[in-house]
Amino acid sequence: MRIVLFAPCFDDTLLPATPQAVVRLLERLGHEVIYPEAQTCCGQWHLAAGYRREAAALSRRFTDVFTAAAARADAIVTPSASCAVTVRRADPDLAVHELSELLVDVLGVTDVGAEFPHRVAYHPTCHALRGLRAGDRPLTLLRAVRGLELVPFGRAEECCGFGGPFAMKNADTSVALVADKVGHLTESGAEVVCAVDDGCLLHIGGAMSRLRSGLRVMHLAEILATPAGGPT
C-alpha cells in the first residue's frame, strides 16, 4: 500500500523520532511511505487558541497539499490523535487515519513483529479516547509486542492537563493536572509511558523530566518500530 505520512509540525521540529518510527514500521510491514514536503501544520494550534481565521488558512493549505498527495496513494496516516481530530473536523472527506487506526482497521494487522521487554503504561489521550474513539486499538497493538508488560495506573482516562494553549494560559491548573498524572504513573511501576499523541507526551515527559522521575515517554510508533531480536 502507498501511504501518505502527515508528520505533525511539532514532531517534525522537536520529536522527529516519532515520524521516523512510523516510516520504519510501515516500510518493515511492506508498505511504501510518501512524505509531501510541502506540508506544514494542520492549524490545530490556532484553532485551539481561538484564531479561526489563521486556522482556516492553514487548514485550507493542508487540504490542498494532502488532497494532491492522496490522489496517488491509498491512505493518509498521522501519529497524532489530536491532529487527526483537527483534520477530520475541517474536512471529513479527507480520510486521515491515526496510526493505530491505520494498522488495525486499514492494514488489518495487530502483531507488527515488535519486541520491547519493558513495563509500559499506556495513557489513552483525550483526543484518542473521546475524539477519535480509538478504543482499545493501541492496546491491542501493544499486547502483541514481545516481552512487553502493560501496567495499569490510576485515573488513566483523565486528561494530563496539556490542552495546547491551556498549558500556557492556565499553567497552574495544567501543572496540577500533570502532577497528579505523573503521581499515578510513578506508582504504577511502569518504566515507559506510551501514547498516540506527542503533545501529551511532551507535557507528561516534561513534568517527569523536571521531577527526575526516572520514567520516559515513548510514542506508540517508537515501540512498534522496535524489531523483534533487534536493539531495544
Binding site: D12, T13, E37, A176, L177
Partner: protein, 425 residues
C-alpha cells in the same frame, strides 16, 4: 496532604506574569480564571474535599446511568426535545403567558437580571416579608442575601429559581427537599425562570426528569414539586412567574450557542471536569460552575469582561463533559467557538496585543514549508545552546509559563524533513 505530592515542586515562579489576553479597557476588570485558580490550587484542604466529592458524585451518576438499558436513546430524546422547544420558543412563551393567566397567576417579563431583581424586590416589599431560596437563578439576579425584613421562618412569600417550567399547563417544577417544603407552604410564590428553562409539555418533562435524576445520581429525584398557578383551597393564593431573558435570546440566535441553552442544570459536566475538580466553583464567576458555566456565562453575559472572556479558555478540551451531558451539548465545540469570538473581539483593539502578533507571525511561518524550515533552523540553533544537557529548563518571556514546571526536550540536530530528504538521497 493532597494527592499531588509534586505540587510544591512543580508550582514555582508564583509571581503572576503579564497576561496573554490584552485587557479590554471598556470591560469590567474581574480576575481571570487563571488568577482565581492560582489561589484555589494552593488550598490543599479544599482540593482534597473537591476530589472526594467529585469522585463520589461521578460514581453515583455512573451507577444510576449504568442501570438503564437505553441511556443513549434517552439522551437522544432529551436533545431532540430541547431543540424542538427552543426552536419554537416564541410560541411556547406566549402559550405559557396565556396559561399562567388562565391559572390565576401573573407572568412578568424581565429583559435582564437587573430588571428581574427590581421586579422581585418590589413584590417582596409589597408582601412585607419574604424568604429567598438560594440557587443559580437568584445568583444570576444577585439576590443571594436575605431580603430586607426577612428572618421569619414561615414567611408568606417564597422567592426561588425554578428547575423547569411546562408551557402547556403553566407548571413550575422545583427539585430538592428543602425547596419543595418551603414552596409547598407558601401563600405567595415568586418563581424565577430563564426563558431557556421552558418545556413544551409533560412528555418533555417526563424525559427531563429522567435525565436530570440519573445525572444527579438518582433513580428518581427524591423531591419534586409541581405548582400550576392558584386553585381555591390548595397551593399558593398568589402566583408570580418572572421570566428572564438575560442574553438568552442572543444565544438563541446563534445556531451553536442555542445548544448551550439545552442545559438542564445537572452538574454532570462539572463532576467529570478535571479542571473543575482542581479549581472548584470559585473560578467561575457566573451563575453556573464547571464546563456549563464556562460556556453559558460568556454566552449570556458577553465576553467584554475579563473574567467571562477567560472562561472559554479554562478547559483542556478533554471532552469528558460532552460525553456525560444528558442532552448531548457539544461543550468542547462551543468552547472553541467562544474562544474564536473572544479573539475576534481582541482583533478590533486599536493596538494588536503580543499574542495576536505572535499567532499571526506563526501562521505566516507555517504558511510555507520553506519559511517553516528557516524558522526551524534558526530556532534549533538557539535552543540547542539553551538545552545543552538534552533538555531545556528555562525559556524566556511567555514561554517560561511552560518551563516554570516542565522541561522541554532540546531540539534534535535534524528535523524530520531534513532526515527524510537525506534518506531519499
Amino acid at each position: 496532604m493532597s494527592r499531588s505530592p509534586w505540587l510544591h515542586l512543580l508550582v514555582r515562579g508564583q509571581s503572576p506574569r503579564e497576561g496573554w489576553i490584552v485587557q479590554d479597557p471598556d470591560g469590567p476588570d474581574e480576575p481571570r480564571f487563571a488568577e482565581t485558580a492560582r489561589e484555589a490550587l494552593t488550598d490543599a484542604g479544599s482540593r482534597s474535599r473537591l476530589r472526594q466529592e467529585s469522585a463520589r458524585r461521578r460514581a453515583r451518576r455512573d451507577a444510576a446511568v449504568g442501570e438503564l438499558s437505553d441511556w443513549e436513546g434517552l439522551r437522544d430524546a432529551g436533545a431532540r426535545r430541547r431543540d424542538a422547544v427552543l426552536y419554537d420558543l416564541e410560541a411556547r412563551l406566549l402559550q405559557l403567558e396565556a396559561e399562567v393567566s388562565a391559572a390565576g397567576g401573573r407572568l412578568h417579563w424581565a429583559r435582564d437580571p437587573a430588571e428581574a431583581a427590581d421586579l422581585v424586590t418590589r413584590l417582596e416589599k409589597d408582601a412585607g416579608s419574604a424568604v429567598r431560596l438560594p440557587g443559580p437563578l437568584l445568583a444570576e439576579l444577585s439576590l443571594t442575601a436575605p431580603p430586607t425584613g426577612a428572618g421569619e421562618v414561615e414567611a408568606e412569600m417564597v422567592v426561588f429559581g425554578v428547575d423547569a417550567v411546562v408551557a402547556e399547563s403553566a407548571t413550575v417544577v422545583v427539585l430538592g427537599a428543602a425547596a419543595v417544603r418551603r414552596v409547598a407552604r407558601a401563600a405567595t410564590v415568586v418563581a424565577v425562570a430563564g426563558i431557556d428553562q421552558v418545556l413544551g409539555d409533560w412528555a418533555d418533562l417526563e424525559v427531563w426528569l429522567q435525565l436530570r435524576a440519573r445525572s444527579d445520581g438518582e433513580r428518581m429525584s427524591p423531591a419534586v414539586a409541581t405548582l400550576c398557578g392558584t386553585a381555591p383551597g390548595d397551593g399558593p393564593r398568589s402566583f408570580h412567574l418572572v421570566l428572564i431573558d438575560g442574553g438568552r435570546s442572543d444565544a438563541l440566535a446563534d445556531p451553536a450557542g442555542r445548544t448551550a441553552l439545552w442545559c438542564i442544570g445537572c452538574a454532570a459536566c462539572a463532576d467529570v471536569c478535571p479542571v473543575y475538580e482542581r479549581v472548584g466553583p470559585a473560578g467561575y464567576p457566573g451563575h453556573r460552575a464547571g464546563p456549563a458555566g464556562a460556556v453559558r456565562t460568556p454566552l449570556l453575559e458577553g465576553t467584554r469582561g475579563t473574567a467571562a472572556a477567560s472562561l472559554p479558555f479554562a478547559s483542556t478540551l478533554c471532552g469528558a463533559c460532552g460525553d456525560v451531558c444528558p442532552v448531548r451539548i457539544d461543550v468542547p465545540e462551543l468552547l472553541l467557538r467562544l474562544r474564536g469570538r473572544v479573539v475576534d473581539e481582541r482583533r478590533a483593539n486599536p493596538l494588536p496585543g503580543p499574542e495576536l502578533l505572535a499567532m499571526q507571525g506563526l501562521e505566516w511561518v507555517l504558511g510555507d514549508a520553506a519559511r517553516m524550515e528557516t524558522a526551524q533552523r534558526a530556532g534549533s540553533r538557539w535552543a540547542r545552546l539553551a538545552g545543552r544537557t538534552g533538555r531545556i529548563r528555562r525559556l524566556p518571556g511567555l514561554l517560561a509559563r511552560w518551563t516554570d514546571a516542565r522541561d522541554l526536550p532540546a531540539p534534535p540536530r535534524e528535523t524530520f524533513r531534513a532526515w527524510w530528504r537525506r534518506r531519499r538521497r
